[in-house]
């Protein structure tokens, strides 16, 4: 888990993406699937555009939302892993 926290999450540069009124729409080219992220999830994905580590993303989410740090950490990690698996982002 510590390892993931130090990784930087970046958007898949080959995916087409737009944010419309706070919702992110991302089309992954390998499967031509469209993914729709809303609410906090859209925010986490958006933070991936800032070249932050997962650790820093968790901190930003804790600053911005009313969520306990341990809950945010657990959920953000599992969420970014899922995003990485779907090739929406990469973890470096």
């Amino acid at each position: 888990m510590a390892e993931v926290m130090e990784q930087v999450m970046v958007h898949n540069a080959d995916a087409a993406a737009r944010v419309i009124d706070g919702e992110a729409f991302i089309i992954t080219p390998h499967d031509n699937q469209i993914h729709n992220l809303t609410g906090v999830a859209a925010r986490v994905w958006e933070l991936g555009g800032e070249g932050l580590t997962v650790q820093r993303i968790v901190e930003r989410i804790v600053e911005e939302y009313d969520v306990k740090p341990e809950v945010a950490k657990r959920d953000v990690i599992s969420f970014v892993r899922d995003l990485a698996q779907r090739k929406i982002v990469t973890l470096k």
Binding site: I27, N36, G39, A41
Partner: protein
């Protein structure tokens, strides 16, 4: 599709849902998320039912297209479809694709498939081409070419499809059903599946944008399309989902579709329309910027103002749960945004009959296919 609510990631088996969300969200925010650009109306085929109307005006130049791409990207375009005529007749197509890729669009190419240079195929992935849509009119050269009226076109199209599949490109074959091929529609589906593509069966022929009814001579009478609709529903249940999800109050509150709100079509001459089947000129990008047209066109304002409850006949229609209401088709067929197209109404009655036959009379249905 992937959809998240709060922290939770849900995966739906219907990618259509995410596209619907995009159209819905973009419709509310008035973002042209889905743009179709016709690159030329020149074509190497002579399809009997073609509804394209070539003019003497010059096609948009590469430079004009560059400016347009930057503008639509700036307004939030995500999906860009490039269509024609036949897009592979444009010598500068690689430059256009490169520019589209640079602007970050997900690309869909619409082609008859008979002119794709083999050397172009490996580059399509690099250009972020998500899908290539190819039209097919038969499962044999004889039937296909009775529509395209070009000898050898069937073999060329099928060869291109094979090459693209080998290169891992996603292809959707539009199986266009006309009087010439209605007797072969099952074999056409078999061919599409043997080629490893997804497919769509489409039996509605459009009159031309200039009002000419010539293409309608090839339209299969709606009553004879019931077999096609039933076959499609048994293979890819859609009416079932429509009926289950339908709610009259929500439906009445909504807008009929994303035309002019989330999507638009641009002709090779720069004319902007709310949708490819809605012949209402919103402006021309040679005279105004795209943003000016999108933000200020009176035509777009008129289209955007319509809610389903304003459509007098549709608002009380019992067939509404089975209807893919299309104001574009209404304008095309009877010049009115609010009067329903009689073709659409007859087609919807068939949808209802097929639904009842399959789901209420104890029929069975194959598993949905992706």
């Amino acid at each position: 599709m992937t959809r998240s609510r709060g922290w939770v990631l849900e995966t739906s088996s219907r990618s259509q849902d995410a596209l619907d969300s995009l159209i819905k969200q973009a419709s509310l925010a008035l973002v042209p998320a889905v743009v179709k650009l016709d690159l030329t109306y020149a074509c190497n085929q002579k399809c009997v039912h073609c509804c394209v109307v070539p003019e003497r005006r010059e096609d948009l130049s590469l430079e004009e297209i560059r400016v347009l791409f930057a503008e639509i990207a700036d307004k939030g375009c995500l999906y860009l479809s490039l269509s024609g005529g036949e897009i592979f007749l444009r010598k500068d197509l690689p430059d256009i694709l490169e520019e589209a890729q640079r602007c970050g669009f997900s690309l869909r190419l619409m082609t008859n498939g008979s002119l794709i240079p083999p050397e172009m195929i490996p580059r399509m992935r690099k250009y972020r081409v998500g899908e290539v849509d190819v039209s097919l009119y038969g499962d044999t050269a004889e039937v296909h070419e009775s529509v395209t009226r070009v000898a050898g076109s069937f073999e060329k199209t099928v060869a291109s499809i094979r090459r693209m599949r080998e290169a891992g490109i996603r292809i959707k074959i539009g199986l266009i059903i006309l009087k010439q091929n209605i007797h072969r529609f099952r074999q056409m589906v078999d061919l599409a599946e043997s080629l490893g593509t997804t497919w769509n069966l489409d039996g509605s022929i459009l009159r031309r944008f200039d009002g000419s009814e010539a293409p309608l001579a090839f339209q299969v009478p709606v009553s004879e399309l019931a077999d096609v609709v039933e076959y499609r529903e048994r293979r890819m249940p859609d009416l079932k989902h429509m009926k289950e999800a339908w709610n009259r109050e929500k439906w009445l509150e909504g807008v009929p579709c994303g035309a002019g709100r989330a999507m638009c079509t641009i002709s090779p001459y720069g004319d902007v329309f709310p949708c490819s089947v809605m012949p209402m000129l919103a402006g021309n990008i040679r005279e105004q910027s795209f943003a000016e047209i999108w933000d200020h066109s009176e035509v777009l304002k008129r289209v955007r103002a319509i809610r389903r409850r304003d459509l007098e006949t549709c608002a009380t229609c019992e067939l509404a749960p089975f209807c893919v209401l299309c104001p574009g088709r209404s304008v095309l067929d009877n010049g009115s945004l609010t009067e329903p197209s009689l073709f659409r109404c007859s087609e919807t009655a068939i949808h209802r009959d097929v639904y009842e036959k399959i789901y209420l009379e104890g029929g069975s249905c194959d598993e949905p296919r992706e």
